[in-house]
Amino acid sequence: MMEDGGLRFLMEEVQYMALSFMGLVYLAKVIWFLKKPTVRDKAHLKGDPAKGAVVSLANIFMPWAMESTRTHWYFYLEFALFHLAVALTILSTFLIPFGVMEPGDPFSKVVVVAMAVGFVVGVRRLLRRITKPEIRLISSPDDYFSLALLDIFFLSGIWALGTGERTAMWVFFILTTFFLVYVPFSKISHYITYPFARWYYGVNFGGRGVIARPSRAFR
């Protein structure tokens, strides 16, 4: 596999270029965002904005903290498995070119299982989006495409890591390149935007004593 100079170029130079492009787009997005005025309560605070921000950002690891995830625990479980699969798949695109990870080794088998689970969750989420009227109503083509893209990405990863075939590696890394270039413009970039929303949510409602409530009822 590694003797293929074209594949090596795809896995290294092309990936670095795609990654740099992605980083630049994100940087531009963050700069645009930070140029906007900030919002912070000027009133005498009841709670602790910093504690609120920490609790808000940690919310993702606390399914019990929010009614919607508490009552839809399977949805949270799916979310956790899906995103774990995404993280492991992306990690493998870094580890494979460096030779740290080889198809067929124990870690790659773990990643293949994770990608298989991620694929199943992705298909289920796609079906949910298509069949539930209230979700269909809010779905844009990008919502469907992003899910489908990740499902195809998982499939190609399973193929590549499961077999180690050269063609499979080409497909997997071409998709990785497309993924890196497309993601900053798609809904998948929520992992860059949502921490900002969560931060402001935490600062505002922490300061007002709604989340991360002060132990005394009044101050």
């Binding site: 000027k42 009133a43 808000s56 900002f196 949510y201 007002r208 709604v210 409530r213």
Partner: protein, 461 residues
């Protein structure tokens, strides 16, 4: 005034059953539809309002739909158009088309769309008529989307075009013209207060009892919802009785005593600032240490949290809600209560603006555990409480009244589930809406403010 009080007492009915009606018609009514020339101005407002909170809230939504069941409109009717993400998407579409890089080139791909008259009309119908800006969806959003900032921006984009519900506009106009939202004159207010004073002198058998007016240097500046002097004087009576029992230093201003600020519901910061400025200057004129906010959800939120943002400064006084002061009195032992005087089962409805947006979550529980014998929680409570349907100025929007009552089904079911005889709350809009729910869904409950229950349980020494 005496007749009104006597009737209310004789019939032993909740004050909520005296339903207030808008009294003063606006000089110029809202216009019936958007026009194409409104669109550029609306977009200009969106550009002006684009801050980090709004931008992150518009950008972060992944359309997961976890907010859907959080909305009382959806939970009661299952209409997919009432899903919070769908309603927020009406503005998000414009954001995508105008700000999102991919959306500028391929708007349909990311759900972007130009703002036009058709979309603006849809926004009017759903953002005024199917959202009370209660923020329950935000507390259920994994991304932390602040729906209130989206809705508030959209509402102001419409309000600035004079396209807003007539009743809401009338309420604001009257406030701006007269200093309070029901056009109550200084003479009327003084007459009402003096009558309440006489009533309490008789009840307390204390001819020296006074309700201090315009007293400089008092610790607390007590505000009121105009419904209180106009329709619910028993609320003022209850408040005065409690403050007397606590031997508190307080005063009522005869100038800017109105706790409300309906501009909060239109996102009109300029007029909201004007009203907040009146309130702040009046408290500062009398040199009071605290503004004591009436049990009025949006009024509390406006003066406690938003006023400093609107004014761009911290006022020279602190703000405390009547619910907070009651909890303080109970915890400090400044008032004695006999819960056996309130023997019936009581449940509590959290007003959205005081709880979700205001941080008053535990204080009402402290009060009720001390003031009533049998207190039970609603299934959804505190920041997860469903809106009763009366928030966001909805009570003034008669054109959406049918939808408002339909959306209250989930709240009615929860109240019925508790077996409570009394629904306590801490907001006049909630009181009126809960009274309507009571009639519509035949719940057979009584709706009371916290201060009324506390006044009933007071042990006078």
């Amino acid at each position: 005034m005496q007749d009104k009080m006597a009737v209310a007492k004789d019939m032993e009915i909740s004050q909520a059953s005296i339903a207030p009606k808008p009294e003063v018609a606006p000089k110029e009514g809202p216009k019936p539809a958007f026009e194409p020339q409104d669109i550029p101005k609306m977009l200009e407002i969106l550009d002006q309002r684009m801050n980090r909170l709004l931008a992150s809230s518009l950008a972060a939504c992944v359309h997961c739909g976890l907010c859907t069941e959080a909305c009382h409109y959806y939970a009661s009717t299952k209409n997919p158009e009432f899903a919070p993400a769908y309603k927020a998407d009406l503005l998000r579409k414009v954001y995508k088309k105008r700000y999102d890089w991919l959306g500028r080139i391929f708007p349909r791909w990311v759900g972007g769309r130009d703002l036009d008259v058709e979309l603006a009309e849809k926004m009017y119908d759903l953002i005024f008529g199917a959202c009370t800006v209660c923020r329950r969806c935000s507390f259920n959003c994994p991304m932390g989307v602040d729906y209130a900032s989206i809705m508030s921006t959209a509402r102001y984009m419409m309000a600035a075009m004079n396209r807003l519900p007539e009743g809401l506009k009338a309420t604001i106009d009257v406030h701006l013209q007269t200093g309070n939202n029901m056009g109550i004159t200084e003479e009327e207010l003084i007459e009402t207060i003096q009558w309440i004073e006489e009533e309490l002198q008789a009840e307390l058998e204390d001819p020296t009892f006074r309700i201090p007016l315009n007293e400089k240097g008092a610790k607390y500046f007590l505000t009121m919802n105009p419904r209180e002097p106009k329709y619910y004087p028993l609320t003022i009576q209850a408040e005065a009785k409690i403050l007397h029992a606590a031997k508190e230093s307080y005063t009522i201003s005869t100038k800017f005593w109105d706790a409300t600020n309906y501009c909060l519901f239109t996102g009109d910061v300029a007029n909201a600032r004007k009203i907040a400025q009146w309130q702040a200057e009046d408290v500062e004129r009398l040199g009071c240490e605290y503004l004591l906010a009436a049990e009025c959800g949006h009024g509390y939120r406006s003066i406690r949290w938003e006023a400093a943002n609107w004014l761009g400064r911290q006022p020279k006084f602190k703000v405390i809600g009547f619910q907070e002061l009651l909890a303080q009195y109970i915890q400090e032992g400044r008032i004695k209560l006999d819960p056996s005087k309130n023997p019936h089962r009581v449940t509590y409805h959290d007003p959205c603006n005081a709880a979700k947006s205001g941080g008053i979550l535990e204080e009402p529980r402290i009060v009720l555990r001390a003031a009533v014998e049998d207190f039970v929680e609603l299934r959804h409570n505190r920041q997860y409480s469903y809106c009763c349907g009366g928030g966001g100025g909805a009570l003034t929007m008669t054109e959406f009244a049918k939808r408002r009552l339909e959306a209250a089904k989930v709240k009615a079911e929860e109240i019925a589930e508790t077996g409570a005889k009394i629904v306590a709350t801490s907001c006049h809009n909630c009181v009126d809406q809960l009274a309507e729910i009571n009639r519509h869904y035949k719940l057979g409950v009584e709706v009371k403010l916290l201060c009324e229950l506390v006044a009933d349980a007071l042990v006078m020494e």
